[in-house]
Symmetry: C2
Subunit: 560 residues, 2 copies
């Protein structure tokens, strides 16, 4: 007992000279990815921004084209809060609209090119797009989609020279963004018009309809703040260097290409556009343009792993692939890394700006054997640097599940890269944000090291004799079989067990395997109650983004 008692000068307050130190134009700017394109045009005017076939643009050219497109939209009266839609594959116009539309304050609604007309009608009516840019290959379906609309959007055709369909409109995108194009079809561009950052970084930047394996698609709204933070986190998380050469295998209409148009603007990278997504195209672009990075669903990995030997070439440098959408089977991970690709496994949803979780790799894992490494890497992982919280919670009580790698709960998110909300859908917002968390609908366990491992979508879990069975676990076992190209498992109603697993399998070209052989294979690897009771050999139904359409499998399973 020293007798010393601390005294803190509690009374000390800032004196009369204090000022409130408010925000003002010198020290506050709304966060927006539009700042990134302005900077790259300023700092790297001659660096390549876009390659599309023989076409090349620099960052100063891209910026000029985006500003010009924005000015024309503004001349048409498009401004803050309006929705501008586009339906196109990964071509330069779609990339540019990621900047030109928000430059006017409007909201970009990029629509999946593989949707059927009725869904496109729903999206256009629900989103209320005022302008719709249409790639020529989508003319037929859009013509069909707008037939029943009393007030269809203004249509602009996009003709990149590679599409074969008719133009949907007399106005073509290149004329649209050309200030010297002066016809009475279009209001002239005001040479004095200048874009500006949103006044509020919470302003909406895009509207993405979930690809929705069931039900009507919901419109997910992103804001400038979230797009900025995810664009930066893509760079820091994936450790992208300066000027990456990024191949657009992932559709830009899918979560705004996981925010990579904006990441590439931040890092002055090059977007290599392509309509053709095959192993051959991937190897060609690596060779021709020095591609360093690309993203894609596991179907892309499958393309590469199962490519004809004549296509495969030694890589001139490590090519980084970010994959997500479904847990890549360990066998596929191993095979693709053996070819010299480096895989980063991420996870996210449309509602989280695309990737918001990543299987952050630890140096000490390098020393593990192949199988162990692949097993670790097939986990979804940990939160992005800018995601505030990721947890696996009991969906009812919202209490965290035990970190035991066994207890199943629902993956939930909190943070700046969670969507602003669903557009015009109060009920869906209430459900999704119940209890102050975003509910993903994905079921997972939390491993003892804090890495999340998805077991299933809520609706994909198979409950057999009271036991939860992960369809993914069975799929992993099937993928490991040398003859299996693709596998997916759904619940089949069963009088005795409630449900049993029914597997749908596509075999590799020239390979064969019997139902019993595959069931026996699974029984060697899995608890017997988890093994499929039925195996159906057939091609698997997929969404345009390569996700297997489990709802179709569930329907088929009923009929088996």
């Amino acid at each position: 007992m020293s007798g010393y008692h601390p005294t803190i000068p509690q009374a000390r307050q800032p004196g009369d000279g204090d000022v409130p130190l408010p925000a003002h134009s010198a020290n506050y700017t709304p966060l927006s990815p539009l700042s990134f394109i302005a900077r790259s045009a300023e700092v790297y005017p001659d660096q390549l921004s876009v390659i599309h076939g023989d076409l090349k643009y620099t960052w100063s050219e891209s910026y000029q084209r985006c500003q010009s497109g924005a000015a024309r939209l503004a001349a048409l009266g498009i401004s803050t809060g309006d929705v501008v839609a586009v339906i196109a594959p990964n071509i330069p116009a779609l990339f540019e609209l990621h900047f030109s539309v928000p430059m006017t304050g409007a909201i970009l609604n990029a629509i999946n090119t593989r949707l059927e007309a009725a869904t496109i009608t729903h999206i256009l009516e629900h989103g209320g797009a005022k302008v719709l840019f249409v790639d020529k290959d989508s003319t037929a379906v859009v013509t069909d989609a707008i037939k029943t609309m009393s007030e269809p959007p203004l249509l602009i055709s996009i003709d990149d020279g590679e599409a074969t369909g008719d133009a949907i409109s007399a106005i073509e995108y290149e004329s649209f963004i050309d200030a010297s194009y002066l016809r009475d079809e279009l209001p002239a561009i005001d040479a004095n018009w200048k874009w500006s950052l949103p006044e509020d970084e919470w302003q909406s930047i895009s509207l993405n309809y979930t690809s929705g394996t069931t039900g009507k698609p919901k419109g997910v709204v992103y804001h400038h703040r979230g797009a900025t933070m995810n664009a930066l986190s893509n760079i820091t998380g994936w450790h992208m260097g300066p000027h990456p050469v990024y191949l657009w295998t992932l559709p830009m209409f899918h979560c705004n290409g996981w925010c990579f148009p904006w990441s590439l603007a931040a890092n002055a990278g090059t977007s290599v556009c392509t309509r053709t997504i095959t192993a051959e195209a991937i190897y060609h672009n690596i060779e021709a343009h020095g591609v360093t990075h690309f993203c894609g669903a596991p179907i892309i990995l499958n393309f590469i792993v199962n490519a004809d030997k004549s296509i495969v070439k030694p890589l001139p440098h490590t090519v980084n692939i970010m994959t997500a959408a479904a847990p890549p089977p360990a066998s596929v991970l191993l095979a693709i890394e053996a070819l010299g690709f480096h895989i980063t496994h991420t996870y996210g949803l449309t509602e989280t700006y695309g990737p918001a979780v990543m299987c952050a790799w630890k140096p000490e894992w390098d020393a593990l054997d192949d199988t162990e490494r692949a097993k670790l890497k097939s986990r979804q992982g940990v939160r992005y640097q800018v995601l505030d919280q990721l947890d696996v919670l009991d969906p009812e009580t919202l209490a965290p599940v035990a970190r035991d790698g066994k207890t199943i709960g629902e993956i939930m998110f909190k943070g700046n890269i969670v969507m602003r909300g669903y557009y015009r859908n109060a009920q869906a917002n209430e459900d999704a944000f119940r209890g102050g968390w975003f509910h993903s609908g994905d079921l997972a366990v939390m491993d003892p090291d804090g890495y999340v491992r998805i077991m299933d979508r809520s609706k994909d879990i198979i409950i057999s004799g009271g036991e939860n069975i992960s369809s993914i676990e069975i799929e992993d076992a099937l993928y490991a079989h040398p003859s299996v190209l693709e596998a997916a498992v759904a619940a089949k109603a069963d009088e005795k067990w409630g449900e049993t697993p029914c597997a749908f399998v596509a075999l590799k070209n020239g390979e064969s395997a019997s139902e019993q052989e595959l069931i026996d294979w699974c029984r060697e690897k899995l608890a017997h109650f988890k093994c499929p009771k039925t195996i159906v050999f057939r091609e698997l139904p997929k969404t345009s983004t390569g996700k297997i359409q489990k709802f179709k499998l569930r329907e088929w399973a009923k009929e088996v």
Copy 2:
């Protein structure tokens, strides 16, 4: 004229189902670097966070220590808006206070260890610190500084085992953060206390007094938002990979170590602490700990370039150095890159969270010859990815100067990494933010490619016969002379010309050069009116951060 007139459905509005999509706990989190340490502790608990001599901490340990320190501060009544000061070199306690103090909501005031007592008194009185942590080597000066204070802060001693001074207080830092330390000297830590993020990301996180070459130091206030954005921009701009090993050559009390404590938390890097900043210590730490990155004023580069041959070792990998504070002379850049170091040149002020401008390197410059590359790299460059605007403006009209590499104006900033403002100094804020820009006081030209090149501090420019002469240009010429170790130039009053340049030069050990020889050397390289009329050989006076104290040179120049 096609007769086609576009119609846009102007009347279309979001329907009744719309919701305002407000911010709430699932989709909004205040930006704060405290999120980074929480994540690194969660994701990389066993990764090394801190090395100090034989001492090593992991991220989970560092996080635990910071939380414990914060809990003790909270037990003392420290909370939002309070100032907590520290005076220490680059030791673990100073690193930890960068997290523990803001965890309580309070503001960290890290004080330069080399200041004289009177200035420390001023800082403590002006900032109003309630608690002051004191490294044992600073006991004497702090004892002196608080002598005249009617209500000094609560003093806590820091003893890392390497300092030689007495303890200033019976309470030592390790006891302070140890929850099991229960004496009546200190209120007990409440085991249920938990830190939380600030409610508002605009909340102050730190208070840094400018090292001030003249006048009373001003207190620069940073907020959580700016610290977060600069921490990320350090990573994306410098292209730091995962787990960098960072050597603390740059004082953490200088602009919070340019925000690197927070960058390292974001990237789960390792802080190698050291009190000794010599070439020998740098080479030792590279070898012993695999240092990959460090920062420092050009004086650090000088240490390395002029190191004794016996110290220099081949580097095991590229070691990245970020330098700033003064434009590094081309000769120094060349010499250090020849040793295998990679230099990134940045620029900023205390008011811009440290570096906010960088000489972004372009791939095409790699092919240029050494001298040309060094010349390009000695420029200050372009804005950081998260800085909204950087420009060189006429200080009166605020019009941008011509981008001709010749017209001198003042460097000004806008954006999220401009300080909140000066603490309790309304007049200084009014001056610094006049016209909606932050006025740096640094004079520069804008090169045609948009890169800023500093010519001088406003007060360092020499006006001779009506011509502006950049002292830096003369210094560059002098540095290129093989015998010159350091050079600095100040204005000397002159009846005929108004001012003339007076050079102060320190020669390398064992080298010699006469005044006339150096003047002739300059005349070969510079316009004659720019050459020094007088040369004084002597050691140069420096601030603790390695900046040459030009105000002293100006005084001396009067007496020459």
